[in-house]
Every structure is written in C-alpha cells, then in structure tokens.
C-alpha cells in the first residue's frame, strides 16, 4: 500500500522533471533577451456528490467516484488545476508549458522548447485511467503478482456444497446457490478493478534546411492495475482480477526531404512490449487437491512479450505537370519468443512421453509488408483520375508443430490421442486496386465514379480466397453559396470459394448438412449510401441533415445451400446458416441559430438503427431431412442521441452556456424456432431430454432488453472581471442508467452459477450500475 505522501510525491514527480528539463534551455535563452511572456492558469475547487442507484439489491453501496462516472477521468471533491498554459516567446525561440487536469489521475503535460523553422524539442506526459467496475468483489487474495489464492478452508466448504449437488436438479442447484452465497457475501472483499496508463514521450524535430526534416521520437508507457478475466479450471472455474503490468517502449527516427515537385521520406520504428506478469495462477475455488477429474490450480497464459520493427520508405513526385505519383513501402517484423507453459497443471495426471512439448518456446514470427502506389492525373483541367494499387501482406513464419492440447485438465488422456493438433499460424495477403475519375463540372461541383477491386488470400481459413468488386459514385453539389449537398453510393459484390471446414472445426458437422458460412469470408453484397445536406439560408442560421445506410446481404444461393429454403421470420427465405443480413441506418439533424450577437442556440438529433439476422443451429439432429433445432436470431439496436444548448454573452463581461445531451440506447436479441412444427414436449421426447435439462434448443426465448441512457446537463458561467481574472462557475448533472441482463442478474452478490453441465463458476460480479452525480466547481482563470 502506498502512503498518501508517496502517492502525492509520485504525482508531483512528472511535473518536477518537466520543469527541470525545461528550465535549462529557458535559463540559457534568458541570457539573450527579455521574452514576451504570457499564459494562463485555472485553479479551483470541486464538489462531487451523488450516488450509485442502479443496483439497490447489492449488499453494499458501490463508490460513485470509483465507477463508471470516472471511467476515463478523475473527478473528485477537492482543489484542482484544470488548465495551465505558459508561453515565453523570444524573437524566434519559444518555450511553452501546458497542462490539463494537473496532478490528477487523468493529467496531461506538454512542454516545448524550439526555434521556429529550425528545431523543436517536446516532452509529453499523459495519464489515462480506465475504471472497469465498482462492484467487483472476490474471495481471492493476490499472494504474488499474478497468483490468486483462496483460503483452503473456504475452498473446502465451497467444494462440499458443490459435491452435494450430485445429479443436478433445479431445487438442488438453488440450494447450492444459496449455500455458496452464504460464504461469499460476508467474506468477499472489494476489488479496485481499474487500470492506469502513464506515458512519457520525447520528440525532437530538426530542420537542417527548409527542405529537410529530421525527427526522433521515444515514448515509454507503463500500464498497471487489475481487470476482470475468466479462468477455466477443471472442476470449477473462476473470474478473477487479471494482474496487468505492461511496459511498452517505442523508438522512431524519420527523415524527409522535399521540394515543390517531389518529396521522399525514410523512417524506422521499433516497438517493444513487455508483460511483467506473463501468466495467472488461480486456485480452484471448489477443489483443494489434484484429482483425475479436477485440478486444484488453474494457469492462464497472458499476452506474451513481443517486438515489432518497421521501416518506411515513402515518396511523392510530379512526373509531369499533370501526373503525380505517390508511393510507400513499409516492411515490418513482429516476433515473440515466450517460453511455453506445460499442457496441464494437474499433478494427478502423470506426464506422458507423447505429452512432451514439441517446442520450449513459441518462436512466433510474422513479416508484414505494405506497398502502395498511387497515381493522380489531371487528364483535363476539370477531370482528375486516380489509380491506386495496394498490397498488404501478413506473412506468418511461426513454426508449425504438433501439440496435444488439454481441453479440461481432468480429461488429460492417459493414452496418446489419435491425432495431434497443429498450432495456427494465420497469414493473409490483401491486394486492392482502385480506379476513380472525378469530374469537376464547375468550380465547386464534382461527380466521382470509380471501381475498386480487392483480393484476399488467407491461410488457416476455410475459404482461402475471396474477391470483391465495388462500384463507387459520389456527387458533391454546391449550387449556391448557402447550400451543399453530398451524395455517395457504393455497391460491392464479394465472392469466394466454397467453405472447406477442417474436421476439427465445430462447424464441420453442420457444413455436411447445410451451408454454414462465416461472415468475414462469406459471399456478400454490400450497399452503402450517404446523403448530407448543409443549408445556411442566412448568416445566422445553419441547418444540416444526413442519412446513411450500410446493408450487407449474406443470404446468397451458392453451392451447398439448403435444398428447400427455410422461412426466416420477418425476412423471407434463407439459403444458408450463419449471418444473413446486417443492416445499419442512421439519420442526423443539426441546427445552429445565432439569435442575436449575444445569443446562439444549437440542437442536434441522431437516430441509429442496427439489425442483424442470423440462422443458427443447436445441434445436428435431423428430422425428415431438416434440422429440427434451428432458430432464427434477430439483434436490434436502437440509439437516439439528443443535444441542445445555448451560448450567451449577457454582457461583455459575463458569458453563459447551458447544454444538455442524452444518449439513449436499447438492444433486443430476439430468438424464434425455425422449421419445427412439433410442440416442446414432442421435441423433448424425441431427444430424450429430462424436464429441466438446460438450454433446450426449442425453448427459444427473447433475451431481456438492454438499456443504457446517459443524461448530461452542463451550465457554465464565465465572468470576465478583468483581462487577467476570469472566475467561472460550472455545474454538471450526470445520470446514467444501465439495464443489462448479463451483469444485472448477479443477485445475490457474486454468485456461483450452475448449469446443465454442472459447471460451477465463481464470478466477480462486475457490473456498471446506474448513478446520478452532481459536480459543482468554482474556478479562477488568471491570465498573465
């Protein structure tokens, strides 16, 4: 635990370093001439009050300031320095210091010293907090970084409750649940589930001549904290806080030389990532000793250390007065060589000779190569043609080896499995070509039409090649100075080879029956349209509106489609399983009106609608040649965003702003059976399911609706007392509502959940409950 003093000192450290670094050149330069000095500082005090009201069922009241309110910021009661800005300008040399949220968790600092047109030295320091939840609690303790242990007596008690379930029935499961919670609720401790990033950057740029730029960059980032993660352990899984301790270094050097008709750039960048906690070791919450069907300790491999190096060669030139060529070549090398862990931690399963790892380290290597060539030409004064070719290659050179992975530690085979599994070294190559002509049929009006082609070649996929052709058009009209209309439309057609699932792919069984496709490599039509209109009938009023849509259609008859298409509720026939349609639409409307020279108002409204339709299967059972357990799934998201406000200059000395925004979203996941006319009981009898067997495919229930709403009201009054003193009063009201069936059902707190496969799982109970907050701040801006 850090003391308040050390914490305070840590916050001050970057400031002290920055000031020290910057004072050196400042002192040197100050010998030369008296600088023009100006800047401002805003100091104040803030009161944050309110409460978390979204989860009254919890046995404790979550902290307001350690939750969603401060997801990426640090609003707390107390004094603050909101902004700091200081500039010292010599005749050509300058020195500047800027800061936001000084000394808080979300602080940023920027310091510069430079000579205009000659050099610039810049130091940055940024902190970004990320709070995941304020409701996480756990019975675990972190005994060492990444090692989460639980008191053996508690595990024995929980394990006893688990064993008592025996053959699962609903009453038995409910009893177990109550028993688990009788242990968990009084004993679980609150987890500070948040991360913080701290990045320090140094940039040096230098212009030896007006045509030549040289720059160097270095940054170092440390990211530390805890965030929820699930760990699969045979005999009982657990969600625990993942110990995050990352260090990333970045180095870059770049040189660019250019004249009017040409420029060339060379660069080198290196990025190294180090995970100081490369794995998690987590006690099984229900098992204290390894056994042949369960393991007492679970281990999870976290992100490995890696390194990426890249070069950049780029150039642009006028080949003739009408032809301009641009090109870039960026080769890169990514690698990681982390030591591999063992297949299982289960000591009750003796290591078999065939179970030796084929490699001790990953030795994973990837080469990337991005190549771009673009030619633009003015065929005529009013006609521009652009031709571009691009290739991006991810060439995976990771050695392929035979592994015998363990799905559950308790099932670690005593005899050698029939076949080994090769690791997946995924690679791809994307080639795109583009030919576009733009006709500027008058000074501010243009029509664009073109063709795009894309070819993707992939390894380790069930479709090795896809090709996509697109026709693109757009029209930009500026018929009058007060009117701008932009219209764009694209139609794309992606085709691909037949799906060839590997025999160990879970979709393999379905693909033998019907056409089961994965959306990212499946044939697809895409239609995209956008319209935007901006109209300013007077200098005081501006209006704008837009409509946009992207519509993907995967429901295409190709190859192994269903012999007789099934009816999809609300859509019509479908020919394959998987994602069928993905449709997004959005409408926006903005208005700004300057009522008088002192008062202006604005209003905005956006509606977004998203819908995906999928045909899914729960297993391969057939009846009369058709799947009996298919179900249709429709996901609907609707988001309305409102904003409105007023800005006033009541007098020359008082400025007031008030604005309100609301982002309201709701989501529905709708499920309905397909192609089964049998009753529930008939299906159950056919399958031999017992009454309360879980996840009966034909029990298609809609998921509960999810809702998020964020209201924000802000009022700010700024008094220009003098040119130097500007007091401000600001009030913010924020209300967040969150109805989420996935996290909101965790009641009572931190449940252990049983399902039909009798899996027990200890959750953290991480949720983002709704809150309301009042934030009042009073500050003084001092300009010097």
């Amino acid at each position: 635990m850090t003391t308040d003093m050390t914490r305070h000192g840590y916050r001050l450290a970057p400031l002290a370093v920055l000031m020290g670094v910057l004072l050196v050149p400042f002192c040197l330069l100050a010998q030369e001439e008296l600088p023009a000095q100006h800047g401002s500082v805003e100091l104040g005090a803030r009161v944050v009050t309110g409460q978390v009201d979204g989860r009254p069922d919890l046995p404790f009241r979550p902290s307001l300031t350690d939750g969603k309110l401060n997801e990426y910021r640090d609003l707390r009661t107390g004094p603050f320095v909101r902004n700091l800005q200081a500039n010292w300008d010599f005749s050509r040399t300058y020195f500047a210091l800027r800061s936001h949220s000084s000394l808080y968790k979300d602080q940023s600092w920027l310091a510069q010293v430079g000579q205009l047109g000659r050099y610039k030295v810049q130091f940055r320091f940024d902190q970004t907090p990320h709070v995941f939840t304020n409701t996480a609690r756990t019975l675990y303790q972190q005994s060492a970084p990444g090692a989460w242990t639980m008191d053996p007596a508690t595990r024995t008690t929980l394990g006893g409750y688990y064993s008592a379930i025996g053959t699962a029935t609903v009453p038995k499961l409910q009893t177990a649940l109550a028993n688990f919670n009788s242990v968990i609720n009084p004993n679980a401790g609150i987890v500070d589930s948040s991360l913080i990033r701290k990045r320090g950057t140094a940039d040096v740029s230098f212009n030896p001549t007006a045509n030549w730029d040289l720059s160097f960059q270095f940054w170092r980032e440390r990211e530390t904290g805890l965030r929820p993660i699930g760990v699969s352990i045979s005999g009982g899984s657990a969600e625990v806080p993942e110990t995050v301790d990352y260090t990333t270094h970045n180095y870059g050097v770049q040189s660019e030389y250019g004249k009017h008709s040409w420029a060339v750039r060379l660069g080198y960048h290196a990025n190294t990532f180090t995970n100081n906690v490369p794995f998690l070791a987590v006690d099984n919450p229900f098992v204290t000793k390894d056994a042949t069907n369960a393991t007492a300790l679970g281990k999870l491999s976290l992100y490995p250390d890696n390194r990426y190096d890249s070069f950049e060669v780029a150039g642009a030139t006028d080949l003739t007065s009408r032809v301009h060529v641009m090109t870039s070549v960026v080769p890169g090398w990514a690698a990681q060589n982390q030591p591999l862990m063992q297949y299982t931690t289960n000591t009750a399963r003796p290591q078999q000779a065939w179970g030796q790892l084929p490699e001790t380290r990953a030795d994973a290597k990837v080469q990337t190569l991005a190549v771009n060539y673009t030619v633009t030409t003015k065929v005529r004064k009013d006609l521009q043609v652009k031709a571009a070719y691009r290739s991006y290659d991810r060439n995976n050179n990771t050695p392929i080896a035979d592994f015998y992975p363990v799905v559950t530690d308790g099932a670690y085979a005593a005899t050698q499995p029939a076949s080994a599994i090769e690791n997946t070294a995924f690679g791809y190559n994307r080639k795109t070509a583009e030919l576009v002509a733009t006709w500027f049929f008058s000074k501010k009006n243009s029509l664009k039409a073109g063709y795009n082609y894309e070819r993707m070649d992939r390894s380790e996929r069930e479709v090795s090649r896809t090709q996509e052709s697109s026709l693109v058009t757009s029209l930009d009209l500026n018929p009058r100075k007060d009117l701008l209309v932009r219209v764009a439309y694209t139609h794309a057609d992606r085709s691909g080879q037949a799906f060839a699932y590997a025999s160990d792919d879970p979709n393999y069984a379905y693909s033998l029956l019907v056409d089961a496709r994965r959306f990212d490599v499946a044939p697809r039509y895409r239609d995209r349209g956008d319209v935007m209109v901006q109209y300013s009938p007077t200098n005081a009023l501006s209006l704008s509106g837009s409509f946009g849509t992207v519509q993907d259609n995967y429901n295409r008859r190709l190859g192994n489609e269903l012999a007789a298409p099934n009816p999809f509720p609300g859509m019509g026939a479908f020919y394959n399983y998987g994602l069928l349609k993905n449709i997004g639409r959005n409408y926006t409307f903005d208005a700004d009106y300057v009522l008088t020279s002192a008062v202006s108002v604005f209003g905005e409204y956006t509606r977004e609608k998203y819908n995906t339709k999928m045909a899914l299967l729960s297993n391969t059972t057939m009846l009369n040649g058709a799947p009996i357990n298919a179900y249709a799934n429709s996901n609907n998201d609707l988001v309305d965003t409102w904003s409105g406000g007023v800005d006033t200059d009541l007098t020359r000395r008082v400025a007031v702003t008030m604005f309100y925004s609301l982002s309201a979203a709701k989501g529905n996941i709708l499920n309905s059976p397909i192609n089964c006319t049998m009753s529930f009981d008939q299906c159950r009898a056919l399958k031999g399911w017992s009454l309360d067997t879980a996840a009966l495919p034909l029990v298609t229930m809609n998921y509960p609706e999810t809702v998020t709403r964020l209201h924000q009201v802000t009022a700010q009054v700024k008094f220009n007392l003098t040119s130097s003193f500007v007091p401000k009063i600001e009030y913010i009201f924020e209300k967040f509502d969150n109805v989420d069936f996935q996290t909101g059902v965790m009641n009572p707190y931190t449940p252990s959940v049983q399902d039909s496969s009798n899996n027990s799982y200890l959750f953290l109970g991480a949720d983002n409950p709704g809150y309301h907050a009042h934030i009042l701040s009073v500050s003084l801006e001092y300009h010097f």
């Binding site: 979300d106 047109g117 970004t128 409910q174 699930g230 899984s237 660019e256 250019g258 008709s261 990532f273 491999s301 642009a316 030139t317 080949l319 003739t320 301009h324 060529v325 641009m326 080769p331 990681q336 591999l340 862990m341 990337t368 190569l369 991005a370 991006y392 995924f426 664009k448 380790e460 757009s474 100075k481 879970p506 979709n507 379905y510 994965r518 959306f519 998987g578 959005n586 926006t588 956006t606 977004e608 899914l616 729960s618 179900y631 996901n635 007023v646 400025a655 925004s661 982002s663 996941i669 309360d692 996840a695 009966l696 495919p697 029990v699 964020l710 700024k718 996935q742 959940v753 399902d755």
Partner: protein
Amino acid sequence: MPKFRTRIRISLALMVLLGLAQAALAEGDSKASAAASNAGAETLDRGLPSGDYVGSEACVTCHAEQASHFRNTVMGKIFANPRTPEEKLGCESCHGPGKAHVEAGGTKETIPVRFTKAANESADVRNAACLSCHEKGQRMFWKGSPHESRGLACVDCHQVMTERKVTLSELNRFKAPITDVEALRADEPELCLSCHTMRRAQLQRSSHMPFREGKVTCSSCHNPHGSPNPKQLIQASANDNCYSCHAERRGPFLWEHPPVMENCLNCHDAHGSTNPQLLKIREPRLCNQCHLNSGHPSNPYGIVTSAGVVQTQGIRVINRGCSNCHSTLHGSNHPSGNHFRR
C-alpha cells in the same frame, strides 16, 4: 508468390524507377528554374512577371489590422525571418501578386487568391497556395485523398488570419487533447464532428474510448490530409493502428484467432458502441456469427422449465458470455490454448 525479400526489392526498385522517371521528366523544368535563379529573380515563377509583386509593405498600408494579427501567428513569426523565396514574398506568398489589386484601388475581386467563405476560388486554387510550402510531412498523400477529391480546402479546417471564435459550449462538450497544433478553426474532435455528425452520436455511447475525456481524438488514428492506408489510417492496417496503444494484442501467438488478427473491426466498433468492450453485437451472438454450433443456447438462461420459467443463469450467456471461458480469444500462447481458454 515471391518471397518477402524479393517483394521488398521489387517495391523499392519500382520506387527508384519512379524517381529516375521524375528526374528525367523534370530535367527541362530544372533548367528553366536554374536560369531564373541565375538571373537573380527574387520572386516565384508563377507565370507572372516579377513586377506584379508589390511587397508586404504595400499591403500593410491598408490591411494593418490583419497584418498585426498575422505577425503573432506561427506563420507570421516564421515569415519575419524568411528562409525560402516563398516566405520572402510575405502576404503575396499566399494571396498572389498584388499589383492588379493595388492599381484597382483595393477591390476584393482583384486579389488573386482569397480564402474567405465568400471567395469564389476553387478549393484547388486555394489549396495550391498552402501546399506550395506545406506539401511534405502529413500532406505527402493529399492528392487523390478523400478530402481532396471531394473539394475540401485547407481553410475549411485551418485558419491563419482571423481570431478563432469558439463558443463556451464548443470548449466544454468534448474535451480536446493537449496539443501544440494551432490555427485550427475548432479543437478536435469538434472540428471533425462538424461534418461527421454521426460520429458525435457514436462518441456519446456508453461503451467508448476516451474521446470525450480528451485522451484520444480523431487524428490519433486518422490522417485527414490523406494516407496510403484504408480510411486514411495512420498505420498500415486497422490492426496496426490498434496495436499502437494495445501492443499486447499484436502477438504473434501460438494459436491465432484469424478474424482477430485480420481486423479488430470485425468485432469492435472503434467509435463507440452500446455493447460492452466496444463490441458490435453483444456476446454470445457476436461469436454466433461464425460459430453456429451447440452449447450456445437459444435462450438467455441455463435452466428453463417447459413452462418457460427461468430457474438459473447459464454461464455461456451471463456476464461476458463466451469469453467467460474463452478469455484469450485475441490469441493464446498456451500449448493447450487452441480453444482460447488458457
């Protein structure tokens, strides 16, 4: 398919060829400009006699207010100690030669290049003035870029000669990252959102990156001046862009999840989402788009009676759905991690 090194060599050879072609084609132009230089011409060759330039002193006699403001800008300070012929021209470097304007007594129409909203010049003409000095750096791929080809002018986003007028609400709605970039009409992201209105709504969604809080902004990922990459991204691919902050997800891993390594945007919406973790669709349905198989129930709960009564929650749906167990789905380095459970 040629090997990696061969492809680099071919690509670089093509670049060299282009350079040679440029040198050959530009030879005539070079000779002409050398001749002009030898003649001691102080002004730019813009097809106009050098006598058409009147000098900044002439401009200041009428435009003292603008000149006073300009002197305090970064450009003004650089122009005070000019390094290039363009900078020596002062006002006329951007506005063109002023002789006709002076002789006409100062009518607006006689200014060769104007930058105000009311100006009649095309974006191309106005941009040419800026690009005569600012063609390098981030503008290297400006020509043919989406903003260029749709008629945007530099001054639609940047301003030099006028005081920036920003309302209190613009300053407070979205916090802008700390930056040394000056002369923008408004801070990012407000500047970009004035046209990309739908993004404003997306940034206000419950699941978002720290845009509103001023830690990330549009230009953290995109170069609005054009780039050789899709969607004007700064890095060579969408994933490379994401790895610049999330380097841990770069791998390469022993077990890779192909859609993840190919494009983060297959599952995430970087501009904001109503689902957790910026997901496009909530789990388990996100995963169901590819994984149609059993074990991912058609109802939201684990145990449901025939009467449809919910008894307990299923671990495949609640909390984070599939990733409760498949928690390393960005890639696993565990020898038993082929199902992304370790």
